[in-house]
Structure formats: C-alpha cells, structure tokens
Symmetry: C2
Subunit: 118 residues, 2 copies
C-alpha cells in the first residue's frame, strides 16, 4: 500500500505521453459510452467546467467532447483508480457519445470470434 | 465509416506494444471494476476460457485475473469499440477486483481537487 493508493491527494500517474485513460459511463444506466485520454490540461478543463475534455492523440490537441456536435458529456461524478492512471467519469450525455452516431462506442458484441451488432 | 467500424470481423487494433485496453464492469450493477490491458494471447485465453486474462505490463507476462487470489472475473459479455482498440468486459466477479482488497479499483471520488473515499 502506498500514498498513491491510500492517500487523499490527487496525483495522476501520467504515462510517457503525459496521458491517463478516461472511461465514461452513463450515470443512469452504467453503460460504457467511450474510452479516451486526458492530459493535465484536459483534466483541469474537465474539473473547471464540469464537461468532459480529452486529449486527442490523432489530432494532437485538447478537445471538448461535443464541441462541434453539441453532444457534450456533463460530469456527474469523477473517480480515480488505485494507482491513479485511470479516471472514471459518470456522465449525463447530451447525445450519442460515438462519432458514428451510436449512443455508445461499444455497439458490437463479440460472439464466437466475430462481431454482432446488438 | 470503415470496415473496422461497421464490419463483423474482429480485428483488434493493437498499439505499438501489441495491446488494447480492457475495461471490466460488474454485469449486474454496471460498476467499473478495473482497467487493464490485453495482448492477442490474453484475448484468446479470455475467449477460450470465459475468464478474464490480461497482459501485465509491469511483470511482462500473461496473467489470469485471480490466478493467486481466486478472485476470477467470469466474462458474461464482451464488446469492442468503434475503432477496435478497446474492449468492454461485463463480468461476474468472484471477489474484490482490486489488489488493495476493494471491490473496485475506483474506490476514490475526486472532489474539489482531492480524493474522497466513498
């Protein structure tokens, strides 16, 4: 057991790229909506505004989820894991969380080695 | 839209280290239990046995969750996200999912910049 695990200080363990993984679930249903990454700026912006911000690895910039679509994720609660390298956001989603238009990015089930949409 | 996003073929997008992120939630409550990583062997073992296997980045080896503690995660359903670089495991947990003894690794809430255990 360490202070990182047992303490009350928020001390995210950023990876080599300065990121932690962030998981967003629907605060009502528990459905896993999306998985993304945050750097220190994204975490600060999320805490300040109450709306989820992430670091886009593909675009190399900070983005507010829904900044163009309007499908923002309002953060109801934010939690951190034992070693402080992952965040759990319970959110109220203003629309589909996935860029494909699906409510969740996890719209396919793995069944017998293939994918089923249900 | 691409085949990766729309197709029925399981084609995980392994990162440079050969890994994808795997998120485990309690299949009854929706609680986020833990976040870990899988390589191709871990995914294959999980699909074959119905029990969650991961790749330990710190130990550099395949591990079955609960192999020593007995706290295995039985996979009820497995889903994959749009770009196939993240897995969602809905599980039936035989015991605490966190190595600290907590039911979930996310046992602390972020509140006003500090951590609260509740």
């Amino acid at each position: 057991m360490t202070d990182i695990e047992q303490g009350t200080a928020l001390a995210p363990k950023w990876d080599a790229a300065g990121l932690v993984t962030a998981v967003a679930t629907d605060h009502r249903t528990g459905e896993l909506l999306m998985l993304a990454h945050m750097n220190a700026d994204a975490l600060a912006a999320t805490m300040q505004t109450g709306e989820a911000h992430f670091w886009s690895r593909s675009r190399g910039r900070l983005w507010k989820k829904g900044e163009t679509s309007g499908h923002v994720l309002r953060v109801v609660e934010m939690r951190i894991d034992c070693d402080q390298d992952a965040l759990w956001l319970k959110v109220d989603a203003a629309g589909p969380a996935c860029h494909t238009g699906e409510r969740s990015c996890f719209y396919r089930r793995i069944e017998g080695g293939a994918l089923v949409r249900d």
